[in-house]
């Protein structure tokens, strides 16, 4: 009975914190059936009360993954811990993860994790996410993404009719939003560098499109490409040394690769079709991209060494914005079959294609998590553009609406140090 209840559960909650503001709120709209019950005991506190409640953050992380159910009663696993202030705004944090269900004797619990840290007050939130990652990996075997970040564009319209665009970066749970660029002109296609320290994007400031690379930590940025026409869809190579991009200076949009050190350009497609949205394979030897050479947008693969182009997608009349899963075995993309735009995933080994989103609204801009388990995308809800997440097996669905305005064009960061 409990399992059926959890299958149908839709937890709607807003995350409020006086210390860390969340631009996006996170609502789990569908969790896996058979979510693992886990108990998170409140951490004992010694000394000054810490500015972050670690147990709460860990609970929310695990609950929002859709794969855990926070239980105050019977559970498979138990987490408890302690926070002790050690002076100078520093805290010693310890926690244990214990397995509960195997023992016949309820008081017997095998300890799976036992860790201790010393951090400063403003590192407590990051530490909580790190603890969530450790628990998640220990139990599921999959590396957690609780310490990753999201980039996205916020669009706000004033009552006077002007529009403001903000390129923003936030924690994976929506906290600690940090604006990287504010503009009265559109910003598009944010792309994280492989080390997560820089973001490339297209900006229409000064009434023409150009590609910039901006350091996330400092906000310092460099102009990368400003040719006549389109400068768009930047994509970092796996070794971080090159940027694939789209330029229409030849007369129509073609794929180019720029060596970031030398700024030398190599043109990879040489035709008059629309070619756009390049994305690198994990081994760096090929690119997949969107092209309408067959009459409507489909995904094609370009072998960089040979220049050979082969078609990848055959399901549906429209496939665009494709990118590889981290292991290179799948491609996520935007797909249109009969009217609605959905996020889909193609298994490259079997050729099987699955639609992951199933809503009454159009979706856009899929971006896969660095552990390959979830896809972040844009969608419509309640008259606003919001973000969503869906598990790559379709089992978990999350919605992330913005507190005000519209959110679009998201990008999931890589694993961060």
């Amino acid at each position: 009975m409990r399992k059926i209840f959890f299958t149908l559960i839709s937890c709607v909650f807003a995350i409020f914190s006086h210390e860390a503001f969340a631009m996006l709120s996170m609502e789990l709209t569908r969790g896996v059936s058979g979510a693992i019950p886990i108990t998170i005991q409140p951490f004992t506190i010694q000394g000054q009360i810490p500015p972050q409640n670690i147990a709460d953050i860990v609970s929310n992380d695990l609950k929002n993954s859709g794969r855990f159910k926070i239980s105050s009663g019977r559970a498979d696993d138990i987490v408890d811990g302690a926070v002790q202030e050690v002076g100078g705004n520093r805290y010693q944090v310890s926690f244990q993860l214990k397995e509960a269900f195997k023992a016949k004797n309820a008081s017997q619990q095998s300890v799976l994790l036992n860790r201790k840290y010393i951090v400063s007050g403003n590192e407590l939130r990051s530490l909580a996410h790190h603890i969530s990652d450790a628990i998640y990996q220990q139990i599921t075997g999959v590396r957690g993404v609780f310490s990753t970040r999201l980039a996205y564009i916020v669009v706000q319209r004033t009552s006077e009719g002007s529009t403001k665009y903000v390129l923003e970066v936030a924690d994976q749970d929506g906290y600690a939003p940090q604006p990287l660029l504010t503009s009265t002109d559109p910003i598009m296609s944010p792309a994280w560098s492989r080390d997560g320290k820089r973001i490339a994007y297209a900006s229409f400031e000064n009434q023409h499109e150009a590609i910039y690379i901006e350091e996330v930590a400092t906000g310092a940025r460099h102009l990368i490409s400003e040719f006549r026409g389109i400068n768009g869809a930047p994509a970092w190579s796996p070794d971080g040394k090159k940027l694939a991009l789209v330029l229409s200076k030849s007369g129509s949009p073609n794929i180019y690769v720029m060596n970031l050190a030398s700024r030398q350009l190599t043109q990879l497609t040489h035709d008059y079709y629309i070619n756009t949205e390049p994305s690198w394979s994990p081994n760096g030897r090929s690119l997949i991209f969107t092209s309408n050479r067959s009459g409507n947008p489909q995904i094609y693969q370009l072998n960089i060494a040979s220049g050979a182009i082969t078609r990848v997608t055959y399901d549906g009349q429209y496939n665009a914005r494709a990118s590889y899963s981290p292991d290179g075995n799948h491609i996520t993309m935007l797909n249109r079959e009969s009217g609605l735009y959905n996020v889909g995933i193609l298994d490259l080994d079997t050729g099987v294609f699955r639609v992951l989103t199933n809503s009454n609204a159009d979706n856009e801009s899929p971006s896969i998590a660095p552990n390959g388990s979830m896809v972040l995308f844009g969608t419509l809800y309640g008259g606003h553009s919001v973000l969503g997440m869906v598990a790559t097996d379709g089992s978990v669905q999350i919605r992330l609406p913005a507190r005000n305005g519209d959110v679009q064009d998201p990008a999931w960061s890589p694993f961060l140090a």
Partner: protein, 143 residues
């Protein structure tokens, strides 16, 4: 030739207007797509329309020269950038006007509906604005 200079098919301007439309919440778009406009859109784009003039001395005549000139929104079929036959007269009229008024400037904005891939829509919008620009350049020297 003057026309080539004045018709700076600022197709990226179209992208600005396009992206404003893209961001419109709940805007589902229609089956047919809007084409080139010559009026400004929000988002800080600086535009100037065809200079309003009361003299049409250079008009070659024919039915409704003012209507032709005033028609500045051209629609395209879904995912296409070919100009409709019925728009060619209006585009020619505007091209002729530009040739006759050397100080006039226009901005061509290519639009699409906001659904689907944003990057693809920017490219399609540019293609549409280019289609109108190319047609206008072709028309120079013809009446």
């Amino acid at each position: 030739m003057q026309l080539k200079n004045t018709v700076k098919s600022l197709v990226v301007m179209g992208s600005i207007a396009l992206l404003s439309a893209c961001s419109a919440p709940g805007h589902k778009g229609q089956g047919d797509e809007a084409g080139a406009d010559s009026y400004g859109a929000n988002g800080g784009a600086q535009t100037s329309g065809v200079a309003a003039g009361s003299s049409f001395g250079d008009e070659t005549g024919g039915a409704g020269p003012q209507q032709s000139l005033a028609k500045r929104t051209y629609y395209f079929d879904y995912d296409k950038s070919e100009i409709h036959e019925q728009d060619k007269r209006a585009i020619s009229a505007n091209a002729n006007y530009l040739m006759a008024h050397s100080k006039a400037k226009i901005i061509l904005e290519g639009h699409t509906d906001p659904r689907g891939s944003r990057e693809y829509n920017v490219a399609l919008g540019e293609r549409r604005a280019n289609a109108v620009a190319d047609f206008m350049k072709e028309k120079r020297g013809e009446s």
